[in-house]
Symmetry: C2
Subunit: 351 residues, 2 copies
């Protein structure tokens, strides 16, 4: 299959997973930047700080004391956005004033006992322990809740208020917007094309290689054709797996390995602990466990905020909020060759 030439001019690209478009303006990276620069990423995190509520042995806001944990550690968020017993709201009195119940659970999961650790620095068996715990929580919370959102906000730039390596898991009694959207688009794709969308997409990207960042036997990472954030990536299994808990032991091993590769590449890009928000999307659970969810493919999205350097981010603001996401370089420029005009160490370390 022939490679398409790199587009040099503005165009829009369709995101089949979100049923929307992104404006790609390849040469906008050339404009000078005199706006906000971010503070340097905090590098001097103490390994253990008894006043940090995520550390082993520390006392949390509610007076509870953390165990002297040695691997992962999960506890209920002390300021949850969702609670299991929230009452039904007043039924709206008009179609323009509609509300509905929101019940759920918010958990925090520490990845490692050390505050100065991050996933890419962890050993493979330690990352594997994180993956196993994700799968365990997906089973436990997914037994009743239709959606279990595993996500990590990494770095102060992404609203993370504690440098200790951790993620969150929010389970809800409703399908959130993104879940509903991806459920619809994947369902329609299977119906129209006879193949699960992301399985087909992954196979094509593995052949085309234009947007490939890293791959192994069971997984691949691409800068998706429709990426919005400059260094956004999509992590896909090669097998038709629909949920985290369905990964085999081998797939969990190779997931630990590809996560370590991807996150090391990210860290090397601007030579900092790379900020991002990431999360897992898989088939819905709870009442959906008994339904056919074959249109789904498990996947993780990585959304990093940086654009030009460790301190200059992409702002998704006016045009993006009011009209449409816009990016300043092509996905192909990011994922490998063709880094003309970008400068810096991207070409070497990212490819």
């Amino acid at each position: 299959m022939a490679l398409l030439p790199l587009p040099e001019h503005q165009h829009i690209r369709y995101n089949p997973l979100r049923d929307d478009w992104v404006l790609v303006s390849a040469h906008r990276m050339k404009r000078p930047w005199q706006g906000q620069v971010e503070k340097p990423v905090q590098e001097d995190v103490p390994r253990h700080d008894p006043s940090n509520p995520l550390c082993p042995g520390a006392t949390r806001a509610n007076g509870k004391v953390n165990p002297e944990y040695e691997s992962t550690f999960v506890f209920d968020n002390d300021f949850p956005a969702l609670e299991p017993d929230a009452p039904e709201p007043d039924v709206g009195d008009h179609p323009l004033f509609r509300s509905a119940s929101a019940q759920g659970v918010c958990k925090v999961m520490c990845f490692h006992p050390w505050s100065d650790m991050t996933l890419p620095l962890m050993a493979l068996p330690e990352i594997r322990a994180v993956i196993d715990k994700w799968a365990e929580l997906a089973v436990e919370l997914g037994a009743t809740y239709p959606w279990v959102q595993v996500f990590e906000n990494k770095g102060a730039m992404m609203g993370c208020s504690n440098p200790h390596p951790h993620c969150q898991v929010w389970a809800s009694n409703f399908l959130p917007n993104e879940a509903r959207l991806e459920d619809r688009t994947q369902r329609e794709h299977l119906r129209a094309h006879g193949q699960p969308m992301l399985l087909e997409y992954g196979r094509l990207e593995a052949q085309r290689k234009e947007r490939l960042v890293v791959e192994n036997t069971d997984w691949l990472v691409v800068v998706p054709y429709w990426a919005v954030w400059p260094f956004q990536t999509l992590l896909l299994p090669r097998r038709h797996v629909t949920r985290l808990q369905d990964l085999s032991a081998d797939e969990r091993e190779s997931l630990a390995s590809i996560m370590k590769s991807l996150l090391t590449k990210y860290d090397n890009l601007f030579e900092i602990s790379f900020p991002y928000s990431m999360g897992w999307h898989g088939a819905p659970t709870g009442p959906y466990l008994g339904e056919d969810c074959g249109h789904w493919l498990l996947h993780a999205h990585y959304y990093p905020p940086l654009l030009r350097s460790a301190s200059v981010r992409k702002f998704m603001v006016g045009y993006e909020m009011l009209a449409q996401a816009q990016r300043d370089l092509t996905p192909e420029q990011v994922s490998g060759g063709g880094l003309a005009g970008v400068g810096g160490p991207l070409g070497e370390v990212w490819a």
Copy 2:
């Protein structure tokens, strides 16, 4: 009409304009914040700086010299995300790799010759001149382009790289995502309910008064029932106007006045020049000028990033990007009474 009691528990609310939901977790404001704080807003902007490319008489990146303008001043963006002559991209070879042409124009519009001026500080006739210029550009660019997006990024926090008061106008040969979405939802609402959605909504909010921020003869500003950003507002005309250029002389006068009121309230909230991104949405133009666009009501969205103070913003990150927008206080708490637990000067200045 009786006021509904303020919901104290988590619930989700439906946004009929975007056909999606927001998670409202009223009591999340109580959690302590140890994360990123923003730099203080720049207060010492020189009134005139010959090296600032937006100032009268300054030389821009492309060597052009600005006139000694005394009111508004419009010029072509020197690093446009859209250009009128971008060629058609290669036709995608697969439904998962779809692209399309993006042609358009990006203009920058200075509001005032002074760099230390902002809209709320400007005199009413000066604001009126901005409104007239918006309408003029809407006519000029809307003659051929289906969408003309007027937007203002205010403050470094919103990616604005120049403190000189200005906005941008990006016109495109396609309907951006938000335009397509609002076109669909407003069309469906008119069909189902026999009234334009936002006209009906504005009338109800004017009666209920629960979420009203400010109003005058021709306009009202509400914190919409489905607001996502803590201090998000929606500016609506009372008359069924579909486009900026259709505003009468009186409506332009009263728009200048309500904009000044709203933006002064914003500035007083945390006693800083309040950052936000804002933009106008009206019926599409170009080929749509000949079609019935009666389902549309002209409106402006204001999306300010701050949450707790001048330096602590709301981060729309992990859960928001991967699952669904989440807010930490109710729209009713923001718009007037019931500010329990929020603290600070919000109650007095915002009400």
